[in-house]
Assembly symmetry: C2
Homo-oligomer: 256 residues x 2
């Protein structure tokens, strides 16, 4: 199995890390064995799961640049069934170092392949750019999940994202598919939110998940306690939305 | 004059474009001659000011890659005293193309220098990454404005940002200074907001502007009408916060 899902959107602050963490946590609670790979030098997925980055000696950087086995850098989280490959600031250097490296786009894919079968899902959190780190994630992924904020600017970057996906599909990863598009940070106080949803549904049609993630204070607070929303406030609207989303991800995975 | 301010933070979605647009618009209304440079391939600063990017033939890409004079790509906005250098998706290619280019970090600085004296302020909106585009902006800038979201993850990337600024100062732009740190998206509903402000004030002390930008629906709606907040809803809390901020920017500029 080891269905590898990259959470991608070069637009910043759209909820990639929040989605990667909470999806992984709910999949794990539903009995799936999950590996979350933090592939953003900011390391938000790592700190959002309570990892103290200062105590981390080796991270995903070592797997893709020094070619250390990925299994050497796996960290356990407080969630059963959920393992994490953390990121530290060291990863920031990888973007430049990869430019001249051999087989630079396949480093992550090669690092994942020896352990892919040990998991049901592998989720990759990507940085807000379309550089070599994101290209590595798109090359290693089977499918991609695109979080889209319910805000005006959200529509602007989508055509560029699809163009990059097409290029990766043509040159690096012919099997790459879009798993789905997730609407995030929906705010009922503003009519823009619904307008953006309608636009995105018109463009992506059935690829858009039914689940819509609301903008809630609880979701923005959970990472400061180092836990996903299903450990911070499982009754909250944000938790229920991510639970429904995780169910949709499993449903679509079973139909592949 | 032509004080060049780069609005920078590699963390995504912190309000860089919103700050670049609304600061520029208020400085223009206060009688300052302003040039806003959209240096993010997403082109949010351009569309947030109502520019139809499909109708744009030449943009900042042509100035830094083909070395066309910047004056050839200046667009007028609906705001008197505010001119814009738009960005289109073409700029996305620049990040890769610059890698092998001669004097690759100085391209923007060289493009700006013939027209710098025509303006009181030049504001540069940066993408959410620390690649060659942002390095060009840091090399061209006199000072930088760092928007910081009042959210948990906001604190993580700051040390990396300061490290990058130090590197640019050492190797490319010895005069580079930090103009200030602006707290954005403050939400009174959550205690995290105040905790983040306290942390940032402890770290950056007097560099933090007194003005705090609240998270408001009006600020998120204005770009969908292609206007800054002082044309969309000048009485709103968000407008007043950006007006106060623009005054602080002028005060600090006069003390230079
Ligand atoms: N549904 C939500 N409700 C409220 N806050 C949210 C929600 N989703 C994310 N956030 C908050 O919004 C900010 C941006 O989210 P997040 O960091 O997950 O986005 P991202 O796309 O990963 O950002 P980046 O582009 O920097 O990687 C964070 O502070 C996060 O806590
Ligand atoms: N104070 C605010 N209140 C409400 N919404 C805001 C505020 N500031 C920005 N926004 C909205 O939040 C989103 C992110 O803001 P913006 O695009 O300005 O950030 P950015 O740092 O430029 O993002 P990127 O990293 O992608 O360049 C946008 O949809 C914007 O309209
Ligand atoms: Mg993230
Ligand atoms: Mg922006």
């Amino acid at each position: 199995r080891g269905l590898t899902l990259a959470v991608v959107n070069q637009k910043g602050g759209v909820g990639k890390s929040t989605t990667a963490i909470n999806l992984s946590a709910y999949l794990a609670d539903m009995g799936q064995k999950v590996l979350l790979i933090d592939f953003d030098p900011q390391g938000n997925a790592s700190s959002g799961l309570g990892i103290d980055k200062k105590s981390i000696k080796k991270c995903v950087y070592n797997a893709i640049i020094d070619e250390r086995p990925l299994v050497e850098v796996i960290a356990q989280t407080s969630i059963k069934n959920l393992s994490l490959i953390p990121a530290t600031l060291q990863l920031a250097g990888a973007e430049i170092e990869l430019v001249a490296a051999l087989s630079r786009e396949y480093r992550l894919k090669r690092a994942i392949s020896p352990i892919k079968d040990r998991y049901d899902f592998i989720v990759i959190d990507c940085p807000p750019s379309m550089g070599l780190l994101t290209v590595n994630a798109l090359t290693a992924a089977d499918e991609i999940i695109i979080p889209v904020q319910c805000e005006f600017y959200a529509l602007e970057g989508l055509s560029k994202l699809l163009e990059s996906v097409r290029l990766v599909k043509t040159h690096l990863n012919p099997e790459l598919k879009i798993a789905g598009v997730l609407m995030t940070m929906h705010d009922i106080r503003t009519k823009i939110s619904q307008q953006v949803i309608d636009e995105v549904r018109k463009f992506f049609r059935e690829l858009v998940y039914d689940s819509i993630i609301p903008r809630t204070v609880r979701l923005s607070e959970a990472p400061s306690f180092g836990v996903p929303i299903n450990r911070y406030d499982v009754e909250s609207k944000g938790a229920q939305a991510y639970q429904q989303f995780a169910r949709e991800v499993i449903e679509r995975a079973e139909k592949r």
